[in-house]
């Protein structure tokens, strides 16, 4: 009978098997390579075509265009938020006429392109000039900027009304009943109990709506408002330099990504009591 007299000394683990070169890895390298090549290509064209004269000439106008875009979006989102309140209330109202009117408003502004609405207001209201002059509103609708602001406000109010309605209706019924059981009045229950919970639900859609407005605001360039896109088009039509569009793209991407990150941080911060 034989038995083990010595222990086998501890061995090093076998070497990890070599990772097979899969198709996914190949595809990944190729696509990443394409992105890298594109990035380097754009960088090189910018460096090669760098012209200090152009930069000093068009740089400030790009900045002013950026200001116009931000101003337009900020104003229309705030005004739209105010206008969306009655629309959302109308959507939720039990009165047939109010709810139907609010529904028609929302359906129209969400079902048609923003650019068609802008044309309808900017070009279309021009044919009512005598009537508008007699009411004393012509000075407002004469300016392209005002028309854009008006169209954007109406448009975003429709979207924001739907966000508001959806978020308020997402608060469970029990919350309302609980407030009633505590003897809170309807108004206080709405402001202290329903609205705070609804706003947390609405936070993300509101952020998306602002991003959509930033992107949508590019179309005001067509009705001669010199926002970022308008300045880009003007610079391009004077220089035929493709770089102008690259600059605009970078600025728009920066704006949207910045807002997205701020919003993610905000949401994280405001919902920290809900984390488990």
């Amino acid at each position: 009978m034989s038995f083990v007299e010595t222990m086998i000394p501890p061995q090093a683990p076998p070497p990890a098997p070599p990772k097979p070169y899969t198709l996914a890895r190949f595809v990944g390298s190729v696509t990443l390579g394409i992105w890298l090549a594109l990035g380097v290509g754009i960088f090189l064209t910018v460096v090669n075509g760098w012209d200090p004269a152009k930069f000093t000439k068009y740089g400030p106008s790009f900045l002013s265009g950026l200001g116009v875009t931000l101003m337009l979006v900020a104003c229309s989102v705030v005004l739209g938020a105010i206008l969306s309140l009655p629309v959302a209330l109308g959507r939720m109202s039990k009165n047939k006429i109010w709810s139907w009117l609010a529904y028609a408003y929302v359906y129209f502004f969400r079902g048609t392109p923003l650019i068609a609405q802008l044309f309808l207001i900017y070009y279309g209201l021009g044919s009512f000039r005598p009537q508008l002059e007699s009411v004393g509103l012509w000075w407002f609708f004469r300016e392209a900027w005002n028309c854009a602001l008006f169209a954007f406000t109406l448009n975003t109010a429709a979207y924001q009304a739907e966000i508001l309605r959806g978020s308020i209706e997402s608060v469970p019924r029990g919350q309302r009943e609980g407030a009633a059981a505590l003897g809170l009045s309807e108004r206080i229950a709405f402001y202290k109990i329903i609205l705070p919970q609804a706003m947390i639900v609405a936070l993300r859609p509101y952020g998306n709506e602002i991003i959509l407005m930033i992107k949508g605001s590019a179309i005001v360039a067509i009705v001669t408002v010199f926002d970022l896109m308008g300045e880009t088009r003007r610079a391009f039509s004077r220089t035929f330099d493709y770089q102008m569009y690259v600059w605009a793209a970078i600025l728009y991407l920066l704006m949207v990504e910045l807002l997205r990150n701020i919003w993610a941080w905000l949401e994280n911060r405001l919902t920290r009591h809900l984390k488990r």
Binding site: A24, T31, L32, G124, K215, M229
Partner: protein, 267 residues
């Protein structure tokens, strides 16, 4: 061969003229608006606007498969185990969801023009090159659509439990067959509401292509408005036509959703 295509095309045009909802034999404009600015033929703008309606609808329909296909592969890339693939697909969506659609359109339209011009110049052809606005619009809108579509499909993919893949493997199905027979039918059912929203957005974005000269609804009504000086009526008409398109597609989508959920009916 070209004769065959020409014959096919003329048959298609004939069928189109019969079922044309605006200026066909039973068209709205032909019966409701004779003698007005919207009359068909040389007297009014009805047939021009009807042509724009067809262009808008066909641009959206032509963009849909392009966007869906790219979006599907980008969604697959986003859940790949390979880090580089994930990174590349995330860059794609970040860029094309962050850029305004109008800017994407301009970049594609002018960029393609410059690219083709340089390519032809290297072959010795010097001359002006004009890119088809329909083609440029199809690419630009398709790319934007695919970026959003990949997000919708990704969340739908995440909603499918992992056991479904494992069950497919246990049945001895190849990975592509698992995808086709087991995952895709469920994916469509889950993703359809989101895709419906994207389709509506696509339909509205087609109006932007009128800026680079595609004779769609907005451009045709814009021309009519400039000539007749009745801008409000014509742009209102454009809005109504877009609303009609939106209504028709919402009906189609609700039917589609019912059809994909027919197995769950009656429960």
């Amino acid at each position: 061969m070209s004769g065959l295509f020409a014959g096919f095309y003329s048959i298609l045009a004939w069928v189109g003229s019969i079922v044309d909802p605006l200026c066909g034999p039973v068209g709205v404009f032909r019966w409701l608006a004779p003698g007005t600015l919207l009359a068909c033929g040389d007297a009014g703008w009805g047939d021009e606007i009807a042509y724009g309606f067809v262009v808008t609808a066909s641009l959206a329909i032509a963009t849909l498969p392009v966007g869906l296909l790219i979006g599907f592969f980008v969604a697959l890339g986003k859940q790949s185990e390979e880090r580089t693939v994930r990174l590349a697909s995330n860059i794609y969506t970040t860029i094309f969801r962050g850029l305004p659609e109008l800017l994407t359109l301009f970049i594609v339209y002018y960029g393609l023009q410059i690219l083709v011009q340089q390519l032809l110049a290297s072959f010795g052809y010097e001359g002006p090159v004009e890119i088809n606005a329909f083609f440029a619009g199809m690419i630009a809108l398709g790319v934007v659509f695919s970026a959003y579509c990949s997000e919708v499909l990704l969340s739908a993919f995440k909603a499918i439990p992992h056991g479904q893949y494992e069950a497919g493997a246990a049945l001895g199905l190849h990975r592509s067959r698992t995808m086709r027979l087991i995952i895709l039918p469920q994916l469509v059912r889950i993703a359809l509401p989101g895709l419906g929203n994207l389709w509506m957005a696509l339909l509205k974005d087609t109006a932007l292509v009128s800026v680079v000269g595609l004779p769609d609804i907005l451009r045709q009504t814009g021309i009519a408005a400039r000539v007749t000086k009745q801008a409000f009526e014509f742009f209102g008409m454009a809005c109504i036509l877009f609303l009609v398109l939106a209504m028709v597609s919402s009906i189609i989508f609700s039917n589609l959703e019912r059809w994909t959920k027919r197995a769950e009916m009656g429960r």
